[in-house]
Amino acid sequence: MTRDLLTGNAAAAWGARLAEVDYVPAYPITPQTEIIETLAQFIGQGALDARLVTLDSEHSMLTAAGAAAAAGARVFTATSSQGLLYALEMLYTVAGWRVPLVLVNVSRGIAAPLTLEPDHDDVLAARDCGFVQIHAATAQEVLDSVLIAHRLSEDPAVLLPVLVNLDGFHLSFTREPVEIPDPNAARAFLPPRALQEASFGVSHGVAQGVAVLGGSAYSFFRYQMQRGAEAALERHEALVGEFEQRFGRRYGLVDARYLDDADYVLVMSNSLSGVGLAEVERLRAAGARVGLLRLRVIRPLPQRELRRLLLGRRAVGVIDQNLSVGKGGILFTEVASALAGPGAPALRSFVSGLGGRRFQSGEFDRMLASLQRAEQEGGSPEPELLWTDAEERRMRELLRVAGHVASQERNDAA
């Protein structure tokens, strides 16, 4: 074991290196490119015996990844944002093939307007495709999750691809201390992939993902994906137990902080939950019984765990760094449905962090006050879009510079 400063991207590449992957189909996109560059460097140095192939698009990249996985290779690939959306058709397809592979997504807001900074509209667009989704909060968790993801994906009860998500910029380009496991220890946790009977090769063909006209056969295979995802929840618990024994770090389906006595709980995901944790600690120091729940495994959604931890609370607020236009926060909807029934707490929905928007410290006081009101007034499905006067004034100025005449000025001129 060594300790070094790694970006989230380098940590992802280290995860693939320690997983001793065989094949890396690649297509670059900011803020993911560093992962591919780092892996190319590892391969060039002879530190990783893998084949890295640049494809013509993310769509082809995922097709190649799925085909190589079906042939028995351990496959790692990575993308972001527009690239993930371009590959979306093939995400559904390779998940339906029931082949194991790991895809890292480096979250970035989706155009238009164009941005490079993070939010989770990209990764949550791939929510329903059959990939298991693990959302990491630190560079250490990125590296560890890539190892866990390969084990989980290759588990014979699961055989679904696994996506590991990390925030662009906040994590992808941010260096922090990371413990890099010893290669032998990593190999003991994740041995070389056992070749499956169903793998195809030059000597034995397999028809993969055949047509099944007739709703019953189609339903059967889709229901089996649901069963595989349910198995992933159970297998994850066993795997992280073994991981903790070997490496001393524990990863739950969710990361629960200060929940023992919490009347109010804020739900977040990914790297800005660190910001949320610091704010929760500040509010607790001022006497508020508030806790933080970070969603880590988002598909399959650990509904039983959410009910165990959140039913009976006075109020729960979900902070979404995504926006389902016309509805609101996606994770709010997910959490609300998981908590439906008797004992459900009053729920509030907050949207922030779009395109890398920073949280204001005072917004956490506002959100806590909103939860305290919700306890009296009841919950609400309407999302509160976090926004400040200072931002509003700045946007007015930018719009003026861009040639938009404010409606007040237009009225004056007339």
Binding site: A157, L159, A198, A207, V210, V212, F221, Q224
Partner: protein, 302 residues
Amino acid sequence: MSAVPHALRLHGRGGQGVKLASHVVSRSAFLAGAWVQDSPLYGAERRGAPVVASVRLADRPIPERGTIEAPDAILVLDASLLGQPEAAVLEGVGEDTLAIVNTPEDASSLQRRFELPGRVVAADLSSLALEVVGSARPSAPAAAFAVRALSIASWEALEQALRIELGDAGIAGELLARNVECARCAFERAPVLGFPTRRPRPVAPSLPCVIPRLPAREAAPSILVPATSELRSTAGWRVFRPEIDLQRCTRCALCFALCPEGAIHLSADATPWIDAVHCKGCLVCAHECPTEAIVTLREATP
């Protein structure tokens, strides 16, 4: 026309005009003032493969959708489908379902042979089409026969429907005229029965089954062994069967090379032979044979 929709399900083979026949039936009823709905079940259509279409008729908007599960009547354009379970011609067919079958066989023999539970009306519409139109495609006479037998519409409405629907299918001039004439013969030949009065079906209890969690490899939509298509006979797809006259055959092997189904094989001495189980009757071989050594024979009804 009734409040509860009348339901006619059509069965045939790709190329017979099953969908066209369903359009003619529904258009006739539409022109006669009914509310109608027609829908073909599309799959991997190929000439000769089983095809299904549904027609519903009522005096008001029809809430049901999809393939008819319990038909009041079925119209079978190819009787050989009755012997093929995967074609599901008899699905939902009960004692009070009327079966109209295009076949030279007589109705009682057909009823015994396939254990048909309800009333059967047989008519040799393919021979009629061959005779009047010059093609074995029975869509127009079959539609006309059904319109008359089920009392769906008058000849005037049917004729207009034929001109509209066959016209939309690109059939015009002499060919259209012959089809209309053929339909007229079928219309006049049909017994007038009307839709049978069906007893309401009790709702079958739904027995829940918990989807098991299978090992993931078994749960994947993959086929691990080769040549599963050999298990399926496509002999019934043929209207005509090719036969090789070995006296005229020069062993040039063109038929072997050009058969799109790989159903023509060569013996050790290069003599070609036809795999009758997998030949679909496309007749490419007969068309291409340079010495015209391949003859075509109409498939006899067994």
